[in-house]
């Protein structure tokens, strides 16, 4: 056994060992890497097996989500004492193999690869956005001499501006072809190709720089260096100043797992968090680049109709009054964007006071949350359709409630998170009290007699059930002002005041109450939901 076992450094800012998808096989193979025994399913490559065991073998062109290209030659290892080194990303592991990854000849070959890669590299880390999560930079510490033996002019490439999302600093490109393989194998397109040959090889679109696919952010993700750069993040912040929290994308019912990277108390970017049961290593550009629409038209303080400001305590009091005086004229509408905990508390509150609740899916109505637009993005724009539906007890439908409204039998309407449409809002004239809890302006807030400010997903924690029935939790990324309440705080207050339930301090308590009531959630607790989520026994769409 030579030296210490090399454990994984954080690559690509993953913060944890890279997620590797091992082949499915009942048989296993056992072999050694530098004397350390490794067992993996039959069919695994040496590199896959090593990474899944947390053993570091440096690599560039290998990406766990893509086919192996074997072109960077960084992952070379010695196999069974053979003099010629072999690429560990290609060679299948076999029983009894003896792999040497840290001998001098192996290190020399890797140092040579680093030297070759850096010959023409601009070494512009000080203003490169990738610095801090760059595989080239990481490996330079271990496999580079810090000196150049190159005396000639460096090869350069023009900047390429592919779209309003992506650009390319070709001088930094190491021709690993990850981007080309991502498009071809995952996204399904052929917008990128290799051009020319030998030392003149170039990568990108042809002639016109007109990328139009919905996964351009992933191209920046898979780029192991700072060549493909996401314009939204260009010169935004050094990655090592960012703090990541676990998020779930709210763009659709896929529920892609995210890292929400914040700088101070602002979101700097979101990026996919690998989850082999949900989004693999990917997320779409809608989720990645359009989250900032959540920040538009924010409602930050309570108000009465006609824009009349009201202080928080008075606003809550007004809401309590509305509930208490509603009688059988009470109805609730909860958006399928609400978290499970919010939906549960809201439904408990409405039912506790004798009303009924209906889900709101958006102007387009309900869309099967399993319907896909492509390999990832779903047609249902709601992150929690199945969660909300499984929680609402004896739910009504929105159309039923609307019919009742039109017939004048609804006097008090509570709305959580739903935006409604101008047309629907126009029909609410007959409802005496409309209390809307929401984070941004919409027809539902304009029509309200009382508006209570809600939060955006980054400002709270909670759970969603994605289109496959997978319960996933997310953490709070941004701090709220001290006196601000989340939806859970508001709902808990109202329930307590009305005397229909116990107060919930936080999401975990709300989840506990939910788990104690709704069958599908039985036995679960917020803090023990696995980071990869857990499948619920609920009926999806037939």
């Amino acid at each position: 056994m030579s030296g210490t076992r090399k454990t994984l450094k954080a690559h690509m800012g993953e913060g944890i060992a890279p997620v590797v998808r091992l082949p499915e096989s009942d048989e296993t193979v056992t072999f050694t890497i530098d004397g350390w025994e490794v067992t993996a399913p039959k069919g695994s490559t040496i590199l896959q097996a090593a990474l899944s065991e947390g053993i570091e073998i440096p690599h560039f062109c290998y990406h766990p989500g893509l086919s192996a290209a074997g072109n960077c030659r960084m992952c070379l290892v010695q196999v069974d004492g053979r003099p010629k080194l072999e690429p560990s990303c290609i060679i299948p592991a076999a029983d009894g193999m003896e792999i040497v990854s840290s001998a001098e000849n192996v290190t020399e070959a890797r140092k040579a690869v680093m030297e070759f890669l850096l010959l023409n590299h601009p070494l512009d880390c000080p203003w490169c956005d990738k610095a801090g999560e760059c595989m080239l930079q990481d490996n330079t510490f271990e496999y580079s001499s810090g000196k150049t033996r190159h005396r000639m002019v460096k090869r350069t490439y023009p900047l390429k501006d592919f779209s309003d999302r992506l650009m390319m600093f070709g001088d930094r490109c190491i021709k690993c072809t990850r981007c080309i393989r991502f498009l071809r194998e995952i996204e399904g397109g052929e917008e990128f190709a290799l051009y020319n040959r030998g030392a003149d090889v170039d990568v990108g679109t042809y002639l016109e720089h007109n990328l139009s696919n919905n996964y351009q952010g992933c191209l920046a993700d898979v780029c192991p260096v700072g060549s493909l750069i996401s314009k939204q993040f260009l010169y935004h912040s050094r990655v090592f100043f960012l703090e990541a929290s676990l998020g779930i994308c709210t763009g659709c019912s896929a529920g892609c797992n995210l890292y929400v990277d914040r700088y101070e108390n602002r979101v700097a970017r979101v990026r996919p968090r690998p989850n082999l049961d949900v989004n693999d290593w990917w997320m779409c550009d809608i989720g990645r680049y359009e989250w900032d629409t959540l920040l538009d038209n924010r409602i930050l303080s309570p108000r009465l109709k006609a824009g009349e400001a009201v202080d928080g305590e008075k606003a809550l009091g007004t809401a309590v009054e509305a509930l208490k005086t509603a009688g059988d004229g009470l109805a609730g509408i909860v958006s399928a964007t609400a978290t499970c905990e919010e939906a549960f508390l809201f439904d408990s509150m409405i039912r506790g006071m004798g009303g009924v609740t209906a889900p709101w899916y958006g102007p387009q109505g309900r869309i099967d949350p399993t319907d896909k637009n492509d390999f990832l993005h779903r047609k249902d724009p709601n992150p929690n359709t199945l969660g909300v539906e499984s929680i609402l007890e004896n739910a009504s439908t929105f159309d039923d409630i609307l019919t009742r409204i039109e017939s004048g039998s609804v006097t008090t309407l509570f709305i959580l998170g739903a935006d409604l449409t101008d047309e629907i809002a126009g029909k609410l004239g007959g409802v005496a009290q409309i209390v809307t809890i929401t984070s941004s302006e919409s027809p539902a807030s304009v029509a309200a007699s009382l508006v209570l400010p809600g939060t955006i997903p980054f400002e709270k924690s909670g759970t969603f059930v994605n289109g496959d029935g997978r319960l996933q939790r997310f953490d709070q990324a941004l701090q709220l002002p001290d006196d601000a309440l989340t939806e859970i705080g508001i709902l808990s207050h109202l329930i307590t005041e009305c005397g229909t339930g116990e107060p919930c301090e936080d999401t975990a308590e709300a989840f506990a109450a939910l788990a104690g009531t709704v069958t599908a959630f039985k036995g679960l607790s917020f803090s023990t939901i696995p980071t990869g989520g857990t499948l619920l026994q609920i009926r999806g769409d037939a």
Binding site: N71, N120, R197
Partner: protein, 434 residues
């Protein structure tokens, strides 16, 4: 072509360069009256099972003539049968290795013999669709091959139910588009598939996952041209030529500073001197030989003194740290400057690298940069070690053997002819101190 000479085998009939072949066995009529005339194909189809054909070729120990020298019979055995997928045969006629021109000779002189070899091999490996890949510059040679295919088809030697055997086989000619790397067998497959000619990583090997994802055997033009004779005369007959491990005869393309350049067929195991002095007439400029690339520009250079009394076999070449490669011998004499020669070839490799492997892509360019400044009198002594270092870092670390072929000869040349390199550097040192 001038010197299409066969004189290599004492008292034995040549196998490929028979007097009739040298004259040209172009039409089916000629091939029938003066050559094997598809008798081997008929023999195989009518009297032999595919296994028996395969067995003969194994017995012959015919080794690949494309560069690697891998035994053809062994290679054929790698293609799995009954995969439910078609098996393909691809004949490699890309002939791009600098110094090599024997396949072109075979294509021009004996196109039917190649077609017959392709058909017999297809029969042996269970292939119904073979491809002949020719470099685009063999435009006129392709005419020969195409008309041979058409003639064969008209005589029911190709196509459906060949010679009433119930066996079908088609041959398609695919023309390259200018890329040396497409001679590398997996790059060649990509090229037929309409892709950039970039070699594939192995495993999987092409015998198992080759053209269109199907089992595929790739053999050189010369390798396949030997098959008819082996079937007609038997594997043992073929193995009686040459030495135990290097059987048969081989075509050598001899060029450079040689009195009579050309294609020569020699029995394996004769001395280098028998080829270069006796057959080729020695040096062309009355200067002594200085060095030679024994098997093409990708094979490490030998000093002339190293081949004294050495025989031409794979094993003997290996002992000298080099290879017989594609049998392309490039001879240099005392007046040739090694630095210029190495720079010329390094430039070739820089142009021809497919560019996917880091060491080959960057290293080939770097070697040219260093060699250029040495040639320009701007090099330093450190550059010589740097050059060896760069070459060593490419060798053995790439997807395909191109990297070895590009770098090995450079490192060897600097090591063997260091004083010549130092002399060029000394010029620059002197100039620098003026």
């Amino acid at each position: 072509m001038s010197a299409d000479v066969y004189r290599g085998v004492e008292n034995r009939e040549p196998i490929l360069m028979t007097p009739e072949a040298v004259e040209g066995l172009v039409t089916l009529e000629e091939y029938r009256s003066k050559g094997a005339g598809y008798t081997a194909l008929e023999k195989a189809l009518k009297t032999m099972t595919p296994e028996e054909v395969h067995e003969e070729v194994k017995t012959s120990n015919l080794r690949g003539r494309g560069g690697a020298g891998f035994p053809a019979g062994v290679k054929w055995g790698f293609a799995p049968k009954d995969t439910g997928k078609p098996t393909y045969l691809v004949c490699n006629g890309d002939e791009g290795e600098p110094g090599t021109f024997k396949d072109r000779w075979l294509l021009r002189q004996t196109p039917h013999r190649l077609v017959e070899g392709v058909l017999i091999t297809s029969y042996a490996i269970g292939c119904n669709q073979a491809f002949i890949y020719l470099r685009q510059e063999f435009d006129r040679e392709a005419v020969r091959i195409r008309s041979a295919i058409e003639e064969a088809r008209e005589s029911n030697l190709l196509g459906k139910d060949i010679l009433g055997s119930g066996w079908d086989c088609e041959i398609t000619v695919f023309m390259g588009a200018g890329a040396y790397i497409c001679g590398e067998e997996t790059a060649l497959l990509n090229s037929i598939e309409g892709k950039r000619g970039m070699p594939r990583v192995r495993p999987p090997f092409p015998a198992i996952v080759g053209l269109y994802g199907c089992p595929t055997i790739i053999n050189n033009v010369e390798t396949l041209s030997n098959i008819p004779a082996i079937i007609n005369n038997g594997g043992a007959w073929y193995a009686s030529y040459g030495t135990e491990k290097s059987t048969g005869t081989r075509l050598f393309s001899v060029s450079g500073r040689i009195a009579n350049p050309g294609v020569y067929e020699v029995e394996m195991g004769v001395t280098w001197s028998a080829l270069l002095d006796d057959l080729c007439g020695g040096p062309s400029r009355e200067k002594p030989f200085k060095a030679l690339y024994p098997g093409g520009s990708s094979t490490p250079i030998l000093k002339a003194s190293e081949i004294d009394d050495v025989i031409m076999t794979h094993e003997a070449a290996f002992e000298l740290g080099t290879f017989l490669g594609s049998g392309a011998t490039i001879v240099l004499d005392e007046d040739d400057d090694i630095v210029d020669v190495v720079l010329n070839l390094a430039t070739f490799y820089k142009h021809e690298s497919c560019g996917q492997c880091t060491p080959c892509r960057e290293g080939c360019r770097w070697m040219v940069e260093i060699l250029q400044r040495i040639a320009d009198g701007l090099g330093t002594m450190d550059d010589l070690d740097l050059l060896i270092d760069v070459a060593d870092h490419i060798c053995g670390n790439t997807i395909c053997a191109f990297g070895d072929g590009a770098a090995g000869p450079v490192a060897t040349a600097v090591k063997k002819f260091r004083s010549e390199f130092e002399a060029r550097v000394a010029v620059s040192t002197a100039r620098g101190s003026e």
